[in-house]
Each structure stands twice: as C-alpha cells, then as structure tokens.
Amino acid sequence: MTAAETTPKPVPDLYSCNGPQFKQLAEAALIWLETNKELVNALNVFPIPDGDTGTNMSLTMQAALREIAPLNDRSAGRVAHALAHGALMGARGNSGVILSQIWRGFARAIDGSETIDAPLFASALREASTTAYRASVRPVEGTILTVIKDAALAAEDAATRHRELRTLLERIVSAAHNSVERTPDLLPVLKQAGVVDSGGKGLTIMLEGMLRYLRGLPLDVAVETAFRPLKLDAVGAAMETIEPGQEWEVIVDFKPRGSIDVSSMYGRLEAMGTAIQVGEGDGMYRVHIHLLKSRRYEPLEMAEDLGTITNVHMENLLAQVGEGDVEPLKLATVSAGQIGVVAVSPGDGLSRVLASLGAAAIVGGGQAQNPSTEDILRAVDDLATDHVIILPNNKNIILAANQVVSLSSKQVRVVPSRSVPQGVAALLQLLPDGDLSQVAGAMEHAITQVHTGEVTLATRTVELNGVAIRDGQHIGLSNGQIVVAGEGLESTLLALLEKMDAGSHEVLTLYRGQDISEPDADALAGQIRVRYPELNIETHFGGQPHYPFILSLE
C-alpha cells in the first residue's frame, strides 16, 4: 500500500452521513486502531501477553469491515446493521464482545434511517451505551463501558448546539479522552498497574480515527510511523518472524553525510525487502531489514551513498531454522478411518516438532493470539479422515477446541493439552490406526506426566501469587503458575528449574524462542548441565514469540 492510496482527502463540512460515508468512517476507525494497536496492547494489566485488547478489538473490527466491504448500499442504517452483524460474528476476547454490543446498539438506533445527522448520531451512541451496559449484571466502571457512556453524554449535549458532524465528533473524542484518563480513579487494578483502561483507550482511538478522517489527517501506518524513527536499541529487540523473501537479516549503522530524506530512504528500502526499521540517535542511523540472499549487499550500497558505514551485521535467518533452506512443513498424511491430529502451535520450530511427531494439521496461534473456533474447525474438516484429535496446547484455546466437537460432523476428541510440551507428550501416544477413545485416553494420561516450564517477560509491574514482578523482568512459570521473577534470563531460567525440582527428573527439553540464538541456548544448556549433571538435556528451535524458553521435564 502506498501513502497516496490511503491518505484521506480533507472532507468538507458534513451535516449528514449516508451509507458509503459511514463505511468510510468505520474504515478510518479500524485503520487508526491498527496503527495504534501496540499502544493499546501495552496497557494490558495482566503480566503475560495473552489475547491483547488492541489485537482483539482490531480483529473484531476487521471482521465487521469484511462484512460491509462488498456492500454498496446508500442506506447508513443497513450498512450499520451489517457492520454490527460482522462485529458479533467475529468478536474476539472480552473487549471484542463489548465492542460488538456497542455496534449492535448503534445499529439498532439508526435502523431504517438512510442518513445519520448529529442528533441521530448522538442517540445512536446513547443506545450503544445502553446496549453495552445491558449485557452485564454488574457493570464494572473504569472500563470501556464508562467511556462509551461518557462519549454518549457528550454527544447528546453537543448535538443540541452543533449540527456539523466533525464538530460533534471533536466534542465526543475530547470527552472520551477525559473519560479514559479518569479510569484509574474508578478501577483500582488500573491504578495499581499505573495504566488507563485498554478497552476504553481502544474505543477512543476508533472515535479519534473517524475524526482524523473528517479532518483529512493521515491514518495509515506507512504515513505515520515511517517518519518516527525508533530508538537505536529498540530496533534490535524488534519481533522477527521468517516469511518468504526474508532469508537474510541485515543491520547497517552509518553516519550520514548531510541531512537524510527519510521517506525516500524508506522507498529504497521497501524495494529491497521487508521488516524495515530505521533507528536514529547520536547523529547515527541504524537500518534493519529482511531480504533475499541475492539482495543482501544492497542496503550497504545505499548506506555508502548516504554516509559512512560504521558497523554491519548480517545473519542467515534460514540457518536458525535448520538446514539452510526453508523446508516446507512435513505433516503426517492420514487416510480415511485413521486418526488425524490437529495441533495448535505458537511458533515455526514448534510446528516442525509437532509435525515430525505425527500431527496432520497445524493451526497457528498461542499466547498473544488465540486461533478462533473457525480456524480449528477448518483444519479438522480439511483432514481426509473423520476421526480427529485436537491438541490445543494452550489453556486459553481449550474452549475454542471444545466447541469444534459439536460443530464438526466428524468424530472429534479434544485432549486438553495446556502447553506445547504436553502436546508433544500426547503425540507420542498416537497410534494412527488405533481406537479413537483409547488413543485419546492414553494422551490424556500422558499430558499429566509432563511438567511444563515457561520463561517470559513481564509486561507490567504487578504482584501475583506473592511474587513481586516489575515491568521488563523475566518471569518463570511452572505449569502455568508464576513462581519466580528475576532480572536476567539466565538466572530466571535456573531459578525456575530449581522451583520445578529439575534434579528429580530425567529429561529436560528446551525450546528456544524466536529471539534466542542457537549459541545462546547452547551456552545456557551447558550451565544447566553443570548444575544438574544427571539430567539429559535436549535443545530445539521453537520459534515462539514472547517466550524466550518453553521447557518440559519428564
């Protein structure tokens, strides 16, 4: 997408809004939300990345917009109705459900109306708020509910004086902002964590997106953040996944000769590869990019053009994965009547491990992004057999997996594995030609025999289970419970192993996350070996995000 395609043109004064215009407002709300998604995610009060609010709201809005995308209806009422239907069907997470109720109320208020004027917009927000409150017996204040209520109040007040929609939205957005700022006063858990409510923030960002659209301000990531250089050290920590065309990672530091036209530099980089990031600091620039092997010297040539190179880092990303070339995932093939296993995997490497043990289908998803029931259902239905076992491999996905049982016409069993190590233990029990109930029973037993440890970063300062955790600290979880928190990855991992009584086990399997290099993992394994000489240690590339290490003890 180029900037020209997505930069909205300033909109003249608007006194009523028809179907296509309403569609554009909704689209603007989503784009601005996507642009600021990480900001909303960062407000998560629980210390583990887990179905983040920004992501959930944005996925819900995406589903809503998919519903109205093919629609070419002049009637605002009918567009809003379709939007609400899409939001309902695609609702993800708590915030997504509330958002779907907000749209449901909004749509109900303008049902049958061809256009929306200021008083109708205000009463639609009122109905949105009422509907959202109605779905809760004990509404919690200091959340998105409070923010929609305050926004509706401001809208009703402003609509008595202003008929122009941009002016009306200005009042609404400013009331929503103030309401968000007050959420910590209403909800102690927010105050303790030192944040404002994430759902309320997300809603405010959506309203702000509509306003920005009417003002003709840019909404798109490519326009907004391309010019906002990251801090130098943030570039190195950027999340990376390997996709086609991302064979090599190149990082170049250089001192520019004169002033740099960042946008034209971006243009050149975009022609070379993906995952582009530019950092700036101390008169230096750092460029980070993923590209094909054949183009790996091009960023150096560009940097030479612009100034003097001080440092270069190049890495073959494929080497991290395995043999130097991306091998397609080798899934087990099943024939009719055999048992097929659908496993959920949070990372590339883990997918390979699961596939190598006999999984016939892999559904991507894990800590921060749960797959939907539909994703799992599709994988189940696509298998060439009608005997299927699902391994959710995450406690938050078990429920979605359970729903597949009643939705699919096939014989489906869910073995409630709550981590990938449990899923691995279950797969070892797989007999493709066995009896479905017996195999599932054996798997259910197997998952109780394995102990799962996880190391991740806390995203908030909080006290949980009597463990004081500071933002940015490493935390160790034993079978899903936080048991240790510490400064370094290494010390946290060792403390976790001690808590898990590693000495009394025989085999330790370490799955390193996408940000941990093989030498680093080997060095850590070496230290563990010194401490637990009896333990048999295996390390694998897991490729999972957020979790530097997932481990199992048997």
Binding site: L88, R92, N94, V97, S100, A135, S136, N370, T373
Partner: protein
C-alpha cells in the same frame, strides 16, 4: 477442603468461599446476565439469581480446583467469546484471591436472555 500448610498451622478454604468469589467474578464478566441452577428443569422462572452459590460447583482434584459454572448469557453476544473471557476471569480471580491452583473452569451455558430483540 483445599488447604495450605504454613509453619503456624494450616489454612483451610471452604468450597463455599471459593464459590462466592467465582460467582462474583462470573457476574462481573461481560455478557453474563445471571447464574442458573445446574438442573434447568427447576424452572425458568427462577433462572436468574444472586445466591452466591447458585450455578457454581467447586470440586477438588489433585491437580487443582475444578469449577463448574452454570450461566445465562445475553442474547446477541458471541457466546464462545463470552465463555472464554468468563473462564479466564474466574480462574484469575480465584487463583489470585486464594493462591490455589485452578485446574479446570467449565462453563455451561444454560440459557440466553433476550433483553431487546434486534430489529
């Protein structure tokens, strides 16, 4: 009865206390409009209740607590998403209040409440 031992003695937590916390969390969960008797045949007239133990069943297993929730959900919400958030929220509240491990939270949707029909 779930218990914990410390140097001064032991701490017991009654299932009723756990049920009260679980019920409180459930009724605060978005989209849940009431707790329902486990056996719906008790009659739909008394389906909505605020008795702290109604609609909550707490049992103990070696791996941790098993909590069964019997709930009424607002019509017009995505039931799967509501149930998912409910179980996360009940687990979080019970675990952080009592420091006990919750092994399973099972959500049984006993009915839907239609408060406003959509046009």
């Amino acid at each position: 009865m779930p218990e914990e031992v410390n140097p001064l003695g032991k701490i017991e937590v009654s299932p009723v206390a756990i049920a009260t916390v679980a019920s409180h969390a459930a009724l605060q969960a978005y989209g849940i409009v009431g707790m329902a008797p486990k056996n719906v045949l008790n009659g739909l007239t008394n389906i909505l209740t605020r008795d702290p133990r109604q609609g909550v069943e707490v049992t103990q297993r070696p791996a941790g607590l098993v909590i069964n929730l019997y709930v009424v959900v607002e019509f017009g919400t995505r039931v799967s998403a509501v149930a998912n958030s409910l179980s996360n929220s009940v687990r979080f509240n019970v675990e952080s209040t009592f420091g006990l491990t919750v092994d399973e939270v099972n959500v049984h949707v006993q009915g839907l409440r239609i408060s406003t029909p959509d046009a």
